[in-house]
C-alpha cells in the first residue's frame, strides 16, 4: 500500500464527475463551468492533490527535465554553473538532473545512458578530461535530445556551445600587469595540449607583443598547481632571474607563487605583482588579496540553459548551432596594485 498519493480519479469519484472534467477544471479550461472548477479546485486543495509528473511525462513525451553532465561539482566554478542552470530551469518549469562524471569517461557514458533512460528533454554537458570518444553524446543527439556544451567543448560535434574567451581574459590580465608598470612577467602555464592552456598562454604573449615587450621563453613555465608554482618560483629566484610580475593559469598556482615569493623576502605587489585566473574561492582570503579573472560560472549556467530551453521549446529546432563566447572580468585586488 505504497503511494497514498491522491490522483485525479480520486477527485472525480468524490465529486461524481469524470476524470477528464477534473483534468480540465484543474487547468482552467474555458469549457468548464465556474461552479465545477471551484468544487474541483477546492477538493484538490483539501486533499493536497499534486499532479503526477511521471504520468504527464509519459503522456506528453516530454519530461520537462534537463540533464546536466558535469565533471566535478566540488569546484567552485562548476557549482556556480549549476546554480545558474537551476535558476533558469526552475523559472521555466523544468527540473534538473545532475550527473557527475568525476572526470571519468566510463562514468560519463553511464551518465548519458541514465539521462536517456530518464527521457530528459535536453542535456547540458561539459566533457571530462579523458573523453576522447563521443559516441555516447552522438547517441543522445541521434535520439533527438538537444545538447549544449559549456566550458569544455568538443570541437567536432555539431551543437550549441558556451565558452569563456580565455585568450582575451589572459590578454587583459597580462595587459593590466603591463599597464601598472611591470616589464618582466612570468607566466605559469597550464598543459599546452589542452586548448585552455594554449589560449591562456597566447593571451599573455599577445599582450607582451602588443606592448613591445620581449617574450622570454625562460619566463614561460608549465606549472598549474600550488606545489609546482612553489618549486618554479624557488628555481627562478635561485637562478637570480629578474621578474616583477607573475600571471598564473589558475588561482592555486598564483597562491603558491605568492607564498614562495613572500617567503623569500619579496614584497607583493611592491616588488612583484601577481595575477591569477578563476577559481573564485580563494582570492579574498590571501594576503594580499589576489587579483584574478572571474569566470562568471553562474552566467555561463544561465546562458547555456537558455540556449537549451530555446531549442527544446522551439517549434522548429533546426536553426543553426550557435557558439556564445562570454567575457571574463579581471578583478583587481591587492596582489597587483595598492588598494
Amino acid at each position: 500500500m505504497k503511494s497514498g498519493l491522491v490522483t485525479i480519479k480520486d477527485i472525480a469519484r468524490e465529486l461524481n464527475i469524470s476524470a477528464s472534467t477534473v483534468s480540465r477544471a484543474l487547468k482552467n479550461h474555458p469549457d468548464i463551468s465556474e461552479e465545477t472548477k471551484r468544487a474541483v479546485n477546492e477538493l484538490a486543495q483539501k486533499l493536497n492533490y499534486q499532479p503526477n509528473a511521471v504520468a504527464l511525462s509519459l503522456k506528453q513525451r516530454r519530461s520537462h527535465t534537463i540533464g546536466v553532465i558535469i565533471p566535478e561539482i566540488v569546484h567552485y566554478f562548476f557549482s556556480s554553473v549549476i546554480s545558474g542552470i537551476e535558476d533558469v530551469a526552475y523559472d521555466a518549469g523544468f527540473n534538473v538532473i545532475i550527473c557527475q562524471s568525476n572526470e571519468r569517461y566510463e562514468r560519463e557514458v553511464a551518465n548519458a545512458r541514465t539521462l536517456l533512460a530518464s527521457r530528459v528533454d535536453g542535456v547540458l554537458v561539459s566533457v571530462s578530461k579523458h573523453t576522447e570518444d563521443f559516441q555516447h553524446l552522438h547517441n543522445l543527439q541521434d535520439n533527438n535530445i538537444p545538447l549544449v556544451f559549456y566550458d569544455r567543448i568538443v570541437p567536432g560535434l555539431e551543437a550549441d556551445q558556451v565558452i569563456i574567451d580565455d585568450l582575451d581574459a589572459s590578454y587583459r590580465a597580462t595587459r593590466h600587469l603591463i599597464e601598472t608598470g611591470r616589464k618582466r612577467i612570468v607566466h605559469f602555464a597550464g598543459p599546452q595540449k589542452l586548448l585552455i592552456g594554449r589560449q591562456r598562454k597566447d593571451g599573455y604573449v599577445k599582450a607582451l607583443e602588443e606592448a613591445g615587450l620581449e617574450v622570454d621563453p625562460s619566463l614561460i613555465i608549465e606549472a598549474d598547481s600550488f606545489e609546482k608554482a612553489r618549486l618554479a618560483v624557488m628555481r627562478l629566484l635561485n637562478e637570480k632571474k629578474k621578474f616583477d610580475g607573475v600571471f598564473a593559469t589558475n588561482d592555486l598556482t598564483a597562491i603558491g607563487a605568492m607564498q614562495t615569493i613572500q617567503k623569500r623576502g619579496f614584497k607583493i605587489p611592491d616588488e612583484i605583482a601577481v595575477v591569477g585566473f578563476s577559481d573564485g574561492r580563494f582570492s579574498g582570503i590571501t594576503d594580499p588579496t589576489l587579483t584574478s579573472v572571474d569566470q562568471h560560472g553562474y552566467e555561463m549556467g544561465t546562458v547555456a540553459t537558455e540556449m537549451l530551453l530555446r531549442r527544446i521549446t522551439s517549434e522548429n529546432s533546426d536553426y543553426p548551432y550557435e557558439t556564445r563566447v562570454l567575457n571574463a572580468d579581471l578583478i583587481v585586488r591587492g596582489s597587483s596594485v595598492f588598494l
Copy 2:
C-alpha cells in the same frame, strides 16, 4: 516528430511477436525460448533500445529516483556530501535529483513540491538556515516518502538522521591545543542560537575544564567569518590580552585570525597556535597550513543514502528511526605544531 526513440513495440513489430514477449525476453524471463531471447536482444542492441524509465516509473509506482534538498552546493562540504550520495545511489540503480534551497525557506518549499511531483522514492534533506515551519517536510512523509536528514537536522521531526559529533570534534581539537602546551586558548564561536554553534563551544569548554584550565569568558568571542576574526584579533591584541592558542568555529574564521596574528608580528605556531573547523578547501594553501577538523562530507552522503535506500527497499519500513553520529577527524597541520 520528436522521440525517434525505439520502444518495445517497435521490436515486437519487427520480429512479429508480442510486446510482452519482448519485455520478458529483455529481462531474461525463464519462460522465453533461448532463440527468441537472442533475436530480441540482438535487435534491441541494433536499434539501440533504451528502456523508458518514465513508463516504468508510472507502471511500478516507483521512480528509482531520490531527491536531495541541499542548502548551497558551492560549499565544499555540501558538494562532498553530494558525491557520496551519487555514488551510493547510482550503484543501487537510483537516480538523483538535486535541489538547492539557496538557504531560502520559500525555495525549500518549492523543492519539496517538485520532488513530490516527480514522485521520488525518498528524500535526503538538510534544512535551510531560515526554515522554521516544517509543513512541506511533513507533507512528504504524509505521502509515504521517507526522509533522511543530514547535517542540519530538525529536532521535532520523526525521521532518520545523520549528523557529525560536533561537540566531540571540538573537544578533540581543543584538547590537541592543550596537549601541545597551550594554556590560554581563544574560541571564535558561531551563533549560539544555532545548535552547531553551541556544541562547538561546549566541546571547547569541556576540554578546558577537563584539563583544569580556566574558562575565561573574555576569550570566548562570537565571530564566525574571516572579517570578524580579523577585527576580534586586533581588539584582543590592542587590549594586550595574552593568548597562545585559537580555536575557530570554521576555517575561514581561523584564516582571518591567522593573517591578523601574523601581521601583528606573532609567529604561528611558535607563539600562537591556530585550529579551524571543516571547510576543507583552504587548509592546504595557508601559510602555515591549517590544522582543522575534517567533517567527512562524502561519508555523510554515503551513510545518509544507505539509510534512505534501506527504508525505500525494505518490505517493512516501519522499524524505528535511527540517528547516526559520525566522527570528525582532526587533521593536524602546521598551524598548531611544527611539521
